[in-house]
């Protein structure tokens, strides 16, 4: 199982539709400060870590929606799809390709309200179904397989007690 592409639409600083194909093995991402590198990581966490406390560096979910720039008006919703190659059936779904999609939409009527939608291969799903699927494939965002910017500093600054708690969580 591996990630074959990411589709972003109005997610954070990606104020349009973007498709990023991936291969197996080692992919590196580079670019200037503030260009949007960590926002790609946040997009993956947004889908893989629905319950994850690992902040997607946003106060509330609607902060993830593109909020405008010089050349474009703010969007009303954002969508991220992760497409996985599932030919080894690691995800318990009988398909070679599995697409996980998450959408957040600002409610047109009530101001602070928003809607959050989950889809698996286009079929409507739920946060819980995502969670079970991901835990099964061991790619959920709660593990140490996601090392966000600044995590190294946080581990260095931890007390001995906090470090032991890492082992408690794993045990």
């Amino acid at each position: 199982m591996y990630l074959t592409e990411i589709n972003l639409e109005n997610f954070k600083s990606f104020g349009r539709k973007i498709r990023i194909p991936f291969q197996e093995g080692f992919t590196a991402i580079t670019g200037p400060n503030g260009s949007g590198k960590s926002n790609i990581a946040d997009a993956i966490l947004f889908v893989l870590g629905p319950k994850s406390s690992k902040a997607i560096r946003a106060g509330k979910l609607t902060d993830l929606i593109f909020n405008g720039a010089k050349s474009k008006r703010p969007a009303k919703s954002c969508r991220v799809s992760l497409v996985f190659d599932n030919s080894d059936r690691v995800l318990p779904i009988d398909k070679d390709k599995v697409t996980l999609t998450r959408v957040v939409k600002i409610s047109p009527s009530k101001s602070e309200a928003y809607y959050s939608y989950f889809y698996i291969n286009g079929r409507s799903s739920s946060l819980n179904e995502f969670d079970q699927l991901l835990a099964h494939a061991r790619i959920s965002a709660d593990g140490y397989n996601f090392v966000q910017q600044g995590d190294i500093n946080r581990v260095v600054a931890m007390s001995n007690l906090e470090r032991r708690r890492i082992l408690d969580d794993i045990a």
Binding site: M1, Y2, L3, K12, S13, F14, G15, R16, I18, I20, F22, Q23, E24, G25, F26, T27, A28, I29, T30, G31, P32, S35, G36, K37, S38, N39, I40, A41, I44, F66, A69, K70, S71, V90, A137, R138, I139, G143, Y144, N145, F146, V147, Q148, Q149, D151, I152, N153, V155, V156, S159, N160, L161, E162, R163, R164, I166, L167, D168, I170, A171
Partner: protein, 165 residues
């Protein structure tokens, strides 16, 4: 419960020793429970001995040595609980070119067992990837991704050859 922790501790400590030895080109490191009899009453101590030095607690290492040791611990946990997908965001920031090279080599090796996505500004890391993307901000303030990154702009970064002219 205690036995569960001992088992996890032993396995991660073994990984940590191996990984630190490889990343630091021959140094030693190990984990220690502050209170081995009652582990939940104490914390976890990290000790590391960079090459040619005495054993030290994590707190008295240099900035770069601390970050390399913390990274070795994270890799040790990853090896204990493997996943098909890893994401690493600028983990090589504090390292000098030699240490950054060692980390990039290990990541490249790991990427034959699992998919790895690594965000980095370091040339020593970018040259080891199978695939490289550049992220840019367009004039209009929107992020875009380009497939063609010119690595020649990055040139090799080495720590100065000490003492050589």
């Amino acid at each position: 419960k205690k036995y569960g922790l001992y088992k996890v501790f032993d396995a991660i400590d073994r990984n940590f020793q191996e990984i630190f030895k490889e990343l630091s080109n021959g140094g030693d490191a190990h984990l220690q429970l502050e209170n081995p009899d009652e582990p939940f009453e104490g914390g976890l101590i990290i000790e590391a001995r960079p090459l040619n030095k005495k054993v030290l607690r994590l707190e008295s290492l240099s900035g770069g040595e601390k970050s390399l040791t913390a990274l070795a611990l994270i890799f040790a946990i990853q090896r204990f609980d493997p996943s098909p997908f890893y994401l690493l965001d600028e983990v090589d920031m504090f390292l000098d070119a030699v240490n950054a090279e060692m980390v990039a080599r290990m990541v490249a090796k790991n990427s034959s067992y699992a998919q790895v996505l690594m965000i980095s500004l370091r040339k020593v890391t970018l040259t080891k990837a199978d695939q490289l993307y550049g992220v840019t901000l367009t004039g209009g303030g929107i992020s875009d991704v380009v497939g063609k990154v010119n690595l020649a702009e990055f040139k090799t970064e080495q720590p100065p050859e000490e003492g050589k002219s």
